[in-house]
């Protein structure tokens, strides 16, 4: 690789159940303003902005138009990624490696409170074959959870442990929306949303935004004394039709991880990665994604959490922030995971800091049952 790419600043809003006090692009401006302050950069220094949002969630066609206005793209450049925020960061990384740009602002913003999430998710399915079934991301996830749990003998208790860990970790995260001490029994007693997923197994509806600045290596030193380097990135799509996938596995995530590990020179992820921030909208996903990421063998996700490997004191602390289960909107999710990984590597993660973290993994996905997966390896 000719150049290296650094993340030199990150900012997040606190994630909240609803933000009636702000327009969605005002949230975008507020996080962008903070990364400019951190670096001393101004609008003229930005070569391009990459934004991440989704029209149906924003209730606007080509919904980056008002966002580009607040991000200084008037007489400048902006491109939108209608996908997960990790894909937006990946795109900015590629833009810099291409040699076209040196300084890229990446912003993801979303107010899930704006509109019914399940109705919008139904629009993601084929209009003739599938929509009439009432499929949405929740019911699709429930099918995947059933298939995964049946195939590998994963128990509801093991899934509930993910929630216990996440919400406990979230107590140390000032940006978290939901944080508490809670028991496995509490989770198993919460109402069923779509069997086997219960209310507390699912991420809450959330509003918020996240921003970061990516720069080419030769610009990094002047902007921060703690640059975080992107060591590897991989992304991979799975099949569009759920019936074309074995839902008990996550082949696309395994492929995305393999690419990222290859680029970063990682051969033993569990040993070489010090902290991971992954996107799990439902508790079973943290176990399944752990398998896809190679933290354990296929089917071993349940035992991984039981053995405490992914706890704060374990070999690989997973989601010290509390992850999506503690609240973070879709689209912002993957970018927020990268921001959290950056804070860990800069030693700025406060009470959720993993001591001495040198290599971090961040993960995002979009689409039903994790259709498009993106993995990023970051290092000091």
């Amino acid at each position: 690789m000719a150049d290296r790419v650094a993340i030199v600043a990150v900012a997040q809003t606190k994630y909240e159940e609803a933000r009636p006090d702000r327009r969605v692009f005002e949230l975008a401006f507020e996080v962008a303003e903070r990364v400019l302050e951190q670096t001393g950069l101004n609008n003229d220094d930005l070569d391009i902005r990459v934004t991440c949002s989704q029209d149906h969630l924003d209730g606007m066609g080509i919904s980056d138009v008002p966002v580009s206005e607040v991000l200084g793209a008037q007489y400048g450049a902006e491109e939108k990624i209608a996908s997960d925020g990790a894909m937006a960061a990946r795109y900015a990384f590629i833009q810099i490696l291409s040699g076209h740009y040196d300084v890229v602002l990446v912003v993801a913003q979303c107010k899930e409170s704006k509109v019914d999430q399940n109705l919008v998710a139904n629009l993601a399915f084929d209009p003739i074959y599938h929509r009439y079934l009432g499929l949405d991301f929740l019911s699709a996830a429930a099918m995947q959870a059933n298939r995964y749990m049946h195939q590998h003998g994963i128990t509801p208790e093991q899934c509930a442990r993910v929630v216990v860990k996440s919400l406990k970790n979230a107590k140390n995260n000032p940006y978290a929306q939901r944080a508490m001490d809670i028991s496995v029994e509490d989770i198993l007693r919460s109402p069923v949303l779509a069997y086997p997923i219960r209310q507390l197994d699912a991420k809450p509806v959330s509003d918020g935004a996240c921003a970061m600045i990516l720069v080419r290596e030769d610009r990094a030193k002047r902007l921060t004394d703690k640059p975080v380097w992107i060591k590897g990135v991989g992304s991979c799509y799975d099949a569009f039709y759920l019936g074309d996938r074995e839902l008990a596995d996550c082949d696309s995530l395994a492929a995305a991880a393999k690419r990222a590990y290859q680029m970063a020179g990682i051969t033993e992820p569990l040993k070489e990665i010090d902290v991971a921030e992954i996107s799990a909208e439902y508790s079973y996903q943290e176990l399944l994604w752990s398998e896809g990421l190679g933290f354990c063998d296929p089917g071993e996700g349940g035992r991984l959490i039981e053995r405490g490997v992914t706890g704060m004191d374990g070999e690989l602390p997973l989601n010290p922030s509390g992850g999506l289960l503690s609240g973070c909107p879709t689209h912002v999710a993957g970018l927020s995971r990268i921001a959290e990984a950056v804070l860990q590597l800069r030693g700025e993660a406060g009470a959720r800091q993993v001591p001495g973290a040198k290599t971090a993994l961040a993960h995002g996905f979009v689409g039903p049952c994790g259709q498009l997966q993106c993995v990023m390896i970051l290092g000091k």
């Binding site: 006090d21 327009r23 303003e33 400019l36 609008n43 200084g72 704006k114 209009p127």
Partner: protein, 163 residues
Amino acid sequence: MNQKVPDQYIKIPHTVRLLYRYAAGPYMARFCKELRENKRLVANRCPRCRRILFPPRISCPDCMVRAADEWVEVGPGGTLLFFAELGRPGIDTRTGEVQELPASYACLIQPDGVLIGQGCFSHWLKVENPEKLREGMRVEPVFKEERRLGTLEDILYYVPVEE
């Protein structure tokens, strides 16, 4: 494929009813309140280039800096920049239904205190004497006297001021 390719659409009616909640935010909220309660149009300002931001908003699009907490009144009267006669019924885009238009002309207005390219807006124009219409003439708003909502619809239409 040996089968005949269909020459008609498959029709599957699918009506999606999505109810959106759009926040006003602090800047638009102030604009709406001033319009509803005082029949005033307000703008804020960029602290760096000093330009007027109308409609008021969080940041300057030229400088990408947060707007100053400095509010000024603009308009509501202004200069007619452009007008066009409306040749067909309007559609209320919130319902998709045909609506009776409040006036037979549309226009572009430069409100007093605003530069061209920095906050001119379009509205209805009620015209008594079309032959006297010309670009550059003065226009004044006619406000709703009751049940104002705090949107630009609280201005029923503009009228030209003949000299």
